[in-house]
Symmetry: C2
């Protein structure tokens, strides 16, 4: 299933982004990062929840679901900038600013962030659905969410964070957007508040597992496998789970997050009319 979602998402993005850019270099730079082979995890999560509730994946659902991928791509481009993480490699290719310069990379990011809100607002889903998606995404990605997480990250480089602070950093930097992606499926399919709450909590634990796994891979993965530089966290004195807890305890924390996510999946299966077996495939990502 994930593979099907990825195909639909890639097709939609490749068909619809280029002609949203009114300047040729901006278009090239935007497409360069957007079509660089991302896993499309976030929009795939939204589509999976839609599927679980038997919502057909039409063009409007795709447009609304892909908005989070536009926003995620902006966050990677800005995160890689010389003034931020100063990364040369992303998904096995030179980073956007290495290829187009930091000015154009900044603009490509700005454009993608703004376009995400355009796509959430200009589809044909119900007015309240679209508005709810805008509000949730803005809250997840803004200065109380993802941007605050980034600020904590660059502000605390070289400072040793305690576990609760590290958790808060990750919750904001990575968790908020993944939580949004799962919740968005509940908003698009117009679920009851309790169901949306369960979805959001699943998203929180899934996002936590994702970040712990990412930290882990920076230690035990290879550059070829990850498509980006590894062992960078340690070199840059980044705050990470392995750095704080060691490898064994980090793996244990990952296992706990996955158990909690799986419990929420069971609760969703029990308490709603959806079929969430598709989430198993997403949980298998961490095997």
């Amino acid at each position: 299933m994930i593979h099907d979602y990825q195909k639909q998402i890639n097709q939609y993005l490749s068909d619809h982004v280029e002609n949203e850019c009114a300047e040729p270099t901006l278009a090239t730079s935007t497409i360069y990062s957007l079509m660089a082979g991302g896993k499309r995890l976030r929009p795939a999560l939204t589509l999976a929840i839609c599927d679980a509730f038997q919502q057909s994946i039409n063009q409007d659902v795709l447009r609304a679901s892909c908005a989070v991928e536009l926003l995620h791509t902006y966050s990677l481009i800005h995160d890689d900038l010389p003034a931020m993480d100063n990364d040369d490699l992303r998904r096995g290719l030179p980073t956007n600013h290495r290829r187009f310069g930091a000015g154009m990379a900044t603009l490509a990011g700005d454009g993608l962030l703004t376009l995400a809100f355009q796509w959430l607002s200009d589809n044909n889903l119900a007015t309240t659905t679209r508005l709810s998606l805008v509000r949730e995404l803005a809250t997840a990605a803004g200065p109380a969410g993802m941007v605050a997480g980034q600020a904590m990250d660059i502000h605390n480089e070289g400072h040793h964070l305690a576990l609760p602070d590290l958790q808060l950093l990750h919750e904001k930097k990575t968790g908020a957007l993944i939580r949004y992606a799962v919740l968005a499926g509940g908003i698009i399919t117009n679920q009851a508040p309790e169901t949306k709450h369960l979805l959001a909590r699943f998203g929180e634990y899934y996002g936590l597992a994702f970040q712990i796994y990412d930290d882990l891979m920076d230690v035990v993965g290879s550059e070829a496998q990850m498509g980006k530089a590894v062992h960078k966290d340690q070199v840059e004195a980044k705050n990470t789970y392995p750095g704080l807890l060691g490898l064994a305890e980090t793996k244990h924390q990952l296992a706990i997050a996955l158990v909690k996510a799986r419990k929420l999946e069971e609760e969703l299966n029990r308490q709603t009319n959806g079929d969430f077996t598709v989430l198993e495939e997403f949980l298998a990502y961490f095997k």
Copy 2:
């Protein structure tokens, strides 16, 4: 009247932005640029149109109207970055990145851009009103609007643009957001499509006059008067009206834009039940 609007806007921003930022340095950096003494022209235009239609300026109208100032401030912060215009001074103070570093400045901009969409979506105006504001602002500010204008600007430094291309650049870089600000007043007060069309056209000519005036001031103004470096356009081989047309013809173009704006003001007075004399004060800005 403009002075009253500025006071209301400053009060709203100073009361409501800081606690939207969940990281202290991000909050300081965001407030630093937002409260650096901007003229609040864009939200003031929105409030003026609301006033023209006897819409009371309550907290929800203020929140929705101030969103464009958040977005405008982000565009200034990113525009000043070393990778873009590399400016040291803005409104008489060190630019955001000179004070907080380019990383934090990038994040403050990202946060303000995202917060603009949060404020448009989380107020208590009608659902369709909020959604319409989100869509119009995203379109005006995104990769087919303001961001495209910025890309044209940095991409064409040192290249001589013909007048139609320069007009397109300015229409996108500065005009789109001012057009939005005027149109937003029509959306908030739920005007007929023809009225919104007249408002948008007024905004286009007002925005054009604004940009020509700004180019002119870079040549004839002083640093003390402008609060930023002057004569920079020429040094950086920026494409400007005076550079392309000379001073006399630039002043002539400014006069033409103002005549057209004034005609639209008259049409609005004639064809709607609004009282647009307040716009005279905005047009007097260029005296």
